[in-house]
Symmetry: C2
Subunit: 189 residues, 2 copies
DNA sequence: GAAATGACCGAATGACCAAAATAGTCATAA
DNA sequence: TTATGACTATTTTGGTCATTCGGTCATTTC
């Protein structure tokens, strides 16, 4: 068994369950069935181990979203499926959820950085897709940086904040309203 | 000079400058040129004083927005003017900025509550306006609770989060994009 | 007599330090 | 050469005590 890999897996599980701060290197070593020193032969320190996990998470999420995007489908369908993929991904990999909780209640600085990196990546991805869609003439000309920002913020708010004090809505319903709002706005056609 | 009023003004200034926790009752009394005991003849405790300030601010902001809304104007114009009115309402903004900063870095619980109250009030206001507009047939049918939520979150994100790691943009430009997004969406017409 | 006040009180806070836990190292073992 | 856990250095925690602050009330002011 690849030691490096089992360390990464153990760490991801631990971070997902207990958060960054509450995960000790000793514990991660135990889970990985590896001596503590071994971890330091592969990673400079706890923060770098964490950082690599985040990098992988971003990569995998991007991949999941990319898989949902087909050249020949209209923009909003791609958007719809990609968002769906990302939501599913978040659900199965609880890491991002746990981390945003940790940031909220104790402002752990490496975790704040990590979440910012994730958001940046998502923003980048969305903006690129928007650029392509504008290029293809599928959507109107617009400042794609601002629009990407708005879309991501909307998405995050709906996923994380809506259920705080509103009755839960179906994922499908949510995507549908989001799509209506994003694509056509409120004006009566 | 009305003592109650000067206490409220002093407290508002202090909360805006130093936040809730860092504002001491002694200090507020000093600023108001009033004995500390006097504050307690008007307000049961620090939290109620704070609460009344928030209530007033919400009321004033609502009033400002209402002034911009005219029955006989189309929805998007009302939206436009109301947004401008609110964004120019400095008093509310400054306090809101300071308070959200405080919540972020020390989770002061009365402050969290206050911000939630403000958001609730805004949400309510927006939803009511949306309901009216739907009723009048000015905008399409939609789940106004979710749409109100989306509009408010968008506004807050643009105002408070955009400049965190993006080049500042003109207020006008920002509101223009927001309006486009909300009214017409991205679809090419 | 009613309203205002600031000295006073108990609770909450935070500075400080010792003790415990944890990150990171390295001599030894496999 | 690679892996390891006992060891060290650093950080966090738990407990203390002095200080601060919210809130009261006997006294003063008008």
């Amino acid at each position: 068994m690849d030691r490096r890999k089992s360390i990464l897996e153990a760490a991801e599980r631990s971070f997902s369950m207990f958060g960054y701060k509450a995960s000790t290197v000793d514990q991660i070593a135990k889970i990985a069935n590896v001596g503590k020193g071994t971890i330091y032969t592969f990673f400079a320190n706890k923060e770098e181990l964490f950082s690599e996990i985040i990098t992988n998470l971003v990569k995998e999420t991007k991949l999941a979203a990319s898989k949902a995007i087909k050249e020949d489908r209209p923009f909003y369908e791609n958007l719809h499926y990609a968002l769906y993929e990302v939501i599913e991904f978040r659900k199965t990999h609880q890491l991002a959820v746990k981390l945003s909780q940790e940031v909220k209640e104790m402002n752990t600085s490496p975790v704040t950085d990590a979440l910012q990196r994730i958001e940046k990546a998502v923003l980048n991805f969305v903006q690129k897709e928007l650029d392509i869609a504008v290029e293809k003439g599928e959507i109107k000309e617009c400042p794609t940086d601002i629009v990407a920002f708005m879309m991501v913020k909307l998405y995050l708010a709906l996923i994380f904040d809506w259920e705080r004090d509103n009755p839960a809505i179906q994922k499908e319903k949510m995507l549908e309203v989001l799509e209506m709002f994003v694509m056509d706005g409120l004006r009566k056609s």
